[in-house]
């Protein structure tokens, strides 16, 4: 938080010396400290003047404002980030992935995009990954096509919407058609800001301001804030990769390191307007996923380019403080019985995910023993001393696998072939077999192995 408890206390009643305890705390000082850490609501003190209250609320608000787009069950919240680098804590709100539809696109193309937004989803390590919103763009002359596009989209999807038009009247009319959906309007510029402020004061909307350069955004967001409007996104106008990295970095630094409020909002990025080439567009989008964008607008999505971006987004927004790990136990795969092979691996979720899916595709009923190893992969766990003979042996003894199978053959990952000897010593009644180095060799390895056992 931007303001310290010791600064807050001076602003409390009687310079922080009233100490009436009505807030439930023994002193004003205790209240101030708790307020600074976000542990108590400001209105618990009945004596704070309205002016001080506004001042404190402002100082206590997050350095990057959380902004919500959409209404009802399907909303998107972005912003509220607290760090520049994920290892400092974690990134919080994944950027919304938006699909651009222009009003001059043929009906079939529009239908196809809506369908893809709704239906294209992927299952990845227990999570469902999908794109988030539509960006509807006015390009044809007149309003008819734009309004028709909006009217077509509204009843068929409840996703958050962004409306794009350089014709401010058209943009505001479009907004009237779907104000109850709290759309994001773009662009608000130095030229049209007055009109936009007047129009959205009574009808909710988020606005994305656009200017040429980071500095030029400052007067625009300041005016919006004066008008009491703070659902803001920023577009500094950078339209190539390296200037985009610069602008996104400067905005994030200004917001977090300088607590510079006029830039304390999430950003919107437009790979769709930066190139006409698919490969480049994906590369740009992947840059914005890492470099701080709040919303990323793509010209289109398809199965093969959307999955890598969504996996990257998930990777980058995974909390680095929590190792992704599986519960230590024996996992049955493909309905194994007492004669099925037994494999062992570590409890990193990705290791488990890869190994189990390869065993599954081998179609061989198997037992997979997942050993607790600090959520590390096989080699890393071995290097850290968490996957070796002297700790695998007790796990095999206690994990109940010995009561599940009528044989004593254990397949270890090929990457740790070197532990075979120590494991044989630690588990004298088990036959230790070195399996493949790579999980993707399992589907060819396992069936052959099982066949050789039968003969």
């Amino acid at each position: 938080m931007a303001i310290k408890g010791t600064d807050i206390v001076k602003k409390l009643p009687e310079g922080g010396k009233k100490n009436c305890r009505e807030c439930g705390l023994p002193t004003c000082f205790a209240f101030a400290m708790k307020l600074a850490s976000g542990g108590i609501a400001i209105d618990k003190c009945p004596y704070i003047s309205p002016e001080v209250r506004i001042e404190l609320e402002d100082a206590l608000s997050p350095p990057i404002k959380p902004v919500t787009i959409g209404a009802g069950a399907n909303i998107l919240t972005v912003g509220d980030e607290q760090v520049l680098y994920r290892h400092e804590k974690t990134f919080i709100h994944q950027p919304g992935m938006a699909v651009l539809i222009s009003d001059d696109e043929p009906a079939e193309a529009v239908d196809a995009k809506i369908k893809k937004l709704k239906e294209l989803q992927f299952h990845w390590v227990g999570k469902v990954l999908k794109a988030d919103m539509l960006a509807l763009r006015h390009v044809s002359s007149g309003r008819t096509a734009f309004e028709a596009l909006i009217k077509k989209v509204l009843p068929v999807t409840d996703c958050p919407l962004m409306l794009i038009s350089d014709d401010t009247e058209a943009l505001l009319d479009a907004h009237r058609l779907c104000a109850d959906r709290k759309p994001l309007l773009y662009p608000a510029t130095a030229q049209n800001l007055g009109k936009i402020i007047a129009a959205i004061q009574n009808r909710p909307a988020a606005v994305a301001v656009k200017a040429a350069g980071v500095e030029s955004l400052v007067p625009l967001t300041s005016r919006l804030k004066e008008a009491g409007l703070e659902d803001i996104l920023l577009d500094p106008g950078s339209r190539n990769l390296q200037s985009a990295i610069r602008d996104q970095t400067l905005i994030r630094r200004a917001a977090l390191k300088q607590v510079f409020r006029p830039l304390g909002y999430p950003t919107v990025a437009f790979p769709c307007f930066m190139t006409g080439d698919r490969q480049r567009e994906i590369l740009l989008a992947s840059t914005f996923i890492i470099k701080y964008a709040g919303i990323i607008v793509l010209s289109d999505i398809d199965e093969h380019s959307l999955l890598p971006l969504l996996v990257q987004r998930m990777n980058i927004y995974t909390d680095p403080r929590i190792p992704m790990s599986m519960e230590e136990k024996v996992y049955p795969i493909n309905n194994p019985d007492a004669s099925s092979p037994v494999l062992i691996t570590t409890n990193w979720a990705l290791t488990y995910f890869i190994v189990s899916s390869e065993i599954e595709s081998s179609k061989v009923p198997s037992w997979l023993c997942v050993k607790e190893a600090g959520g590390l992969g096989v080699l890393t766990a071995w290097a850290a001393g968490k996957f070796s003979g002297d700790n695998i042996a007790p796990f095999i003894k206690k994990c109940s696998i010995e009561s599940k199978v009528n044989h004593r053959r254990l397949i270890i990952p090929g990457k740790v072939a070197r532990i075979r000897h120590e494991l044989t010593e630690a588990l004298p009644d088990w036959d230790i077999i070195v399996g493949p180095r790579e999980a993707n060799e399992i589907p060819s390895y396992l069936p052959d192995l099982v066949k050789s056992w039968k003969n």
Partner: protein, 301 residues
């Protein structure tokens, strides 16, 4: 409120490492900036993109990444030349064929292959062994001796074999790849040990590159932290340039093997992520991605 651009400059500087010799030599590192922050501080050398050549051929590569090299995969010299025609800054020769669990090519044979490639191309060579720490000592020593004075980038030197590998590198005028398994402490420990045998200008860090969806974020964060510790906090044991050998990792995923387009993005998104994390050399397999990443580095996108 007045806006003052929050530009930052740092006292730490990435070591400048020269690869190869003579007219074809290339340099990496040298800057006191965070990755791709060309708007502040000073950059000396931009990152390089290498394409992989494998002495083991490409039998197990996905078909779409073999396609550009189909007629040359049995000949590392022709393959390397093809990579250069297709835009690679330099060549990364993987000696998978020396793996005792595979083709088990001898150290002398491997050294002869490296010598031959070296004599036919005029760019620096990166040479990776088969990542069997014992065999690698034999192979890398033979390669280092056969190519004495050519300033190859050789590795990996790992916890188990770094002394012998670094000795061969130091005695024969090369640079070394210091490899650790995605662990910042082990990485620093190995760097500190290697610094007793070699100057920092002869070391490149390989914290291991994982593919998108298969631990990429771990590689990302280790690289990002390495660069910060070196440049922002000025730790001299962490100021060496970073290599991201990611092509093989990406193309072996089921996602890359299942579909050409998906494979292309899998490699390019992983590469862009690790470039943003701090990689100074990207090792890729597909030439189209080599071009794409070079465009990103050169500011053409």
């Amino acid at each position: 409120m007045e806006y003052k651009a929050p530009l930052e400059t740092y006292t730490g500087r990435v070591k400048e490492v020269t690869l190869g010799k003579g007219a074809g030599a290339l340099k990496i590192g040298g800057g006191n900036i965070l990755p791709l922050h060309y708007f502040e501080g000073s950059t000396v050398h931009r990152p390089l993109v290498a394409l992989e050549v494998n002495d083991n051929g490409a039998d197990r590569w996905a078909e779409w990444v073999v396609q550009p090299y189909k007629d040359v995969v049995s000949d590392p010299v022709k393959w390397a030349k093809r990579c250069l025609d297709l835009g690679a800054d330099l060549i990364c020769l993987h000696l998978d064929g020396t793996d005792p669990q595979g083709a088990n090519r001898s150290a002398a044979e491997a050294a002869a292959i490296v010598e031959k490639v070296l004599s036919e191309v005029d760019v620096p060579l990166i040479v990776y062994g088969c990542e069997d720490d014992k065999k690698d000592v034999e192979v890398l020593t033979a390669v280092a001796e056969a190519c004495k004075g050519e300033n190859l980038l050789l590795g990996p030197a790992v916890k188990e074999n770094y002394e012998a590998v670094a000795r061969a590198v130091a005695d024969n005028g090369h640079c070394v790849i210091a490899q650790t398994p995605i662990d910042l402490n082990l990485e620093k420990e190995l760097n500190v040990k290697l610094l007793k045998q070699l100057p920092p200008e002869r070391i490149v860090i390989d914290p291991l590159s994982s593919a998108l969806g298969y631990g990429m974020e771990y590689s990302f964060t280790i690289m990002e932290r390495t660069r910060q510790i070196g440049v922002v906090f000025g730790d001299v044991a962490m100021q060496m340039p970073i290599i991201a050998d990611l092509g093989g990792e990406c193309w072996k995923t089921n996602q890359a093997r299942a579909d050409r387009e998906q494979g292309m993005h899998w490699e390019s998104v992983t590469a862009m992520s690790l470039l943003l994390a701090g990689a100074d050399i990207l090792v890729l397999r597909h030439p189209d991605n080599c071009r794409l990443l070079k465009e990103a580095i050169e500011g053409k996108i």
